[in-house]
């Protein structure tokens, strides 16, 4: 069954951060490691399998002027044909913003001609170099001009403020990749069912290698402490770092469960390409009234740890059962809805 192939163009001025982003998300570099990356020569192609039925074909286009001139002249056909998404990176410190925007317009013009249905993403990168108070303004100012120019070609541009030094990078790339997944709505639907059956507060589905968020479901009746709207990308960041630490021991982690003060999170493998995280908040009233045979209960915690164990097993069992369904979704022909 032919998997969906998605061609992504990664363009931007030389030194704006394209290859660094790519290596962090897709090649497990840490932010610190990216300083050893050199200038990209012409176009670097990467083929990444993402889920069972999708291959991302990432074209990292070197941003030096000589290469850029080629892209818009001799290589126009090659570059701009069959593009699913353009990701244009703006270095927030760039001294030649006008020129960057002109390049952006050139890209749009070519895309309009060769791939009019492609999605447009703009990443306002290196935001860590801007003072906290000014960030919103800088971002909005740039996006305004980009939105205007995109409208000229009837494209809708989606923007993100990013930096490799925090989790904003994961948010941007999760959104980009998710918009390309052929049947993401199906994932969402089944994840919702899973969450309802498990009575979970939150369920998140991650891609296994990159830890980008594919889909997430939040139970609206859960207590109101879900105030941090950036928690998903933070989790991506945290788990990715844990993955890197485990690789120091030449091992990978298979599962993780964290019993916190107010909730417990379970992270386990769903399919060969995805991992699922289930967050259950503690429900003290139910536990308090349990009549489980605790036996020799040293500190009164016996009931709770038995209930913990039960919950753990239930979640794992649910995941096991749901696995088949999710595997089927992954392998589905991308044209099915």
């Amino acid at each position: 069954m032919a998997g969906a192939r998605r061609k992504l163009l990664l363009m931007g001025r030389s030194g704006s951060g394209k290859s660094s982003m790519r290596s962090i998300i897709f090649s497990n570099y840490s932010a610190f490691d990216t300083r050893r990356l050199g200038a990209t020569i012409d176009v670097e192609h990467s083929h990444l399998r993402f889920l069972g039925n999708m291959t991302l074909n990432l074209w990292d286009c070197g941003g030096q002027d000589a290469y850029m001139d080629h892209y818009f002249s001799t290589q126009r056909d090659n570059i701009f044909r069959m593009v699913e998404a353009l990701i244009f990176v703006f270095d927030v410190e760039s001294k030649e913003l006008r020129k960057d925007i002109e390049t952006f317009v050139l890209c749009l013009r070519n895309l309009y001609e060769f791939s009019p249905s492609s999605k447009i993403f703009a990443l306002v990168h290196k935001m860590d170099l801007v003072i906290l108070e000014k960030r919103q303004d800088v971002y909005r100012a740039l996006m305004k001009s980009l939105e205007d120019t995109s409208a000229m070609f009837s494209f809708q541009v989606q923007g993100f403020a990013t930096t490799i030094w925090d989790e904003s990078l994961y948010k941007a790339w999760s959104s980009i990749v998710c918009s390309l997944i052929p049947n993401v709505a199906l994932f969402q639907k089944h994840l919702q069912t899973f969450a309802d059956i498990s009575e979970a507060d939150e369920v998140i589905l991650f891609e296994k290698t990159t830890f980008l968020v594919i889909s997430h479901v939040t139970n609206p009746r859960s207590p109101g402490f879900r105030s941090d709207s950036t928690r998903f990308e933070k989790i991506s960041n945290i788990i990715k770092q844990y993955k890197q630490s485990c690789s120091k021991l030449r091992a990978q982690f298979q599962s993780l469960s964290i019993r916190g003060t107010d909730s417990t999170s379970y992270l386990d493998t769903m399919t060969s390409n995805t991992m699922i995280m289930v967050i259950m908040s503690h429900k003290p009233d139910i536990r308090g009234s349990s009549n489980l045979p605790g036996g020799n209960d040293i500190n009164g915690d016996g009931d709770e740890s038995l209930a913990d164990e039960a919950e753990n097993n239930i979640i794992l069992a649910n995941i096991k059962i749901a696995r088949k369904m999710f595997e089927k979704i992954e392998m589905m022909n991308p044209d099915d809805r």
């Binding site: 105030s227 960041n237 630490s245 091992a251 599962s255 964290i258 503690h282």
Partner: protein, 375 residues
């Protein structure tokens, strides 16, 4: 390596002036403030570039499992002028850490170190001298060992020349960019804990009876380990345990209910640009030093950190986490009393008996509580 009785008593000052237990000295730009910021105030190592030169003695009081004060004397001080105070400081502290910048010419540092050792040992014969050969991240492996050998040789020779034979002195290769600084600091602190032998014994018993391969007792805030069992220690294991603590605390913070009392004065935020510790430490000159930080929450990358105000807020259940690795190892963490956490490595074959392991750990927890009630 006994700890004198005065030190034990002086260490229990919860009052206004706890005596410093550890003093950190060294030439200027050696890295002393960076070490303190990274270890105790959760600064990212890269942000330490922005720390200003320390002008006055700074003390961080660290109250978790042990009353811990690290006093940092600025490198510019010609300390022979402040000699009277120095004597007082030395006689009340358990360890002296001297930071040497290994990337620089260290001959001057060694001369300085020598005179400091003489004064320190005169004031307090039982003081532990710990030499941190710092900034070794910039040196190659051979060079590091060379530097260590060279410095050890020179310092011990000079001490012998002066007839000082019973000085307890150790050398550590450290860098804030990896885990070596934590490991070195762990060793320094371990020598100051009177309960160390008991803790090691408890851990050994726990490991033997629960099928645990390796167990550490960590301090959650600073990630130094207080004790470990007698099985051999290797650094990758230590590193993964510290990372494991990090992610447990981070994940817990993401979903924890905000139980902090509304806005007190000592709330501090560190943003991605890394505000250096201007809000945290207040300094006065020499003797009467007062500063506070409390057990900070750990972070990964450059997330926001907030320091919980004193006194510690009543928490919910103790935190714990478990992780299964592909090579059959299981990481198991349980929060203990007083900001400590027990981190164990087990084989996956022990998992079916996890209930027994948890039962044993409860006994261990009770033992810890008793230890600190009496001690």
């Amino acid at each position: 390596m006994s700890v004198s009785v005065e030190e034990l008593h002086s260490g229990h000052g919860f009052g206004a002036n706890p005596s410093p237990r550890i003093v950190m000295m060294g030439l200027r730009r050696g890295g002393k403030s960076s070490i303190c910021q990274v270890m105790f105030h959760n600064m990212q190592p890269l942000d330490t570039l922005y720390i200003e030169s320390t002008t006055a003695p700074t003390t961080s009081v660290f109250s978790s499992f042990i009353d811990f004060a690290v006093m940092e004397l600025p490198g510019q001080i010609n300390f022979t002028e402040a000699m009277i105070d120095a004597e007082r400081i030395f006689s009340s502290c358990g360890a002296l850490i001297y930071v040497i910048d290994s990337q620089d010419e260290y001959i001057n540092a060694l001369a300085n170190l020598h005179s400091i050792i003489i004064h320190a040992v005169n004031a307090n014969p039982t003081i532990n001298i710990e030499v941190f050969i710092h900034k070794v991240d910039g040196l190659s492996e051979d060079f590091r060992l060379d530097a260590q050998r060279d410095i050890t040789q020179r310092v011990t020779d000079e001490l012998l020349d002066d007839g000082l034979v019973n000085v307890s002195i150790s050398f550590h290769l450290t860098s804030i960019f990896d885990h070596s600084i934590y490991e070195a600091f762990s060793r320094v602190v371990q020598k100051l804990i009177p309960q160390l032998a008991t803790l090691e014994n408890l851990l050994n018993v726990l490991c033997q009876h629960s099928g645990i391969d390796k167990a550490f007792l960590f301090d959650i805030g600073s990630k130094i380990f207080v004790a470990t069992d007698s099985s051999p220690l290797d650094i990758p294991t230590y590193e993964i345990c510290t990372d494991f603590i990090d992610i447990t605390v981070d994940m817990n913070n993401l979903y924890a209910v905000d139980r902090r009392p509304p806005k007190t004065g000592s709330r501090t935020d560190t943003n991605a640009n890394g505000n250096n510790g201007t809000t945290i430490t207040t300094t006065t000159t020499t003797t009467t030093t007062t500063t506070t930080t409390t057990t900070p929450t750990t972070t990964t990358a450059n997330n926001n950190t907030t320091n919980r105000p004193e006194p510690p807020v009543p928490q919910g259940r103790p935190i714990g986490s478990t992780s299964r690795l592909s090579n059959g190892v299981i990481l198991y963490l349980q929060q203990m009393v007083k900001g400590l956490a027990l981190v164990c490595l087990m084989r996956k074959e022990s998992m079916p008996k996890i209930a027994l392991v948890e039962y044993n750990i409860e006994f261990f927890r009770d033992a810890l509580e008793q230890l600190w009630l009496i001690g």
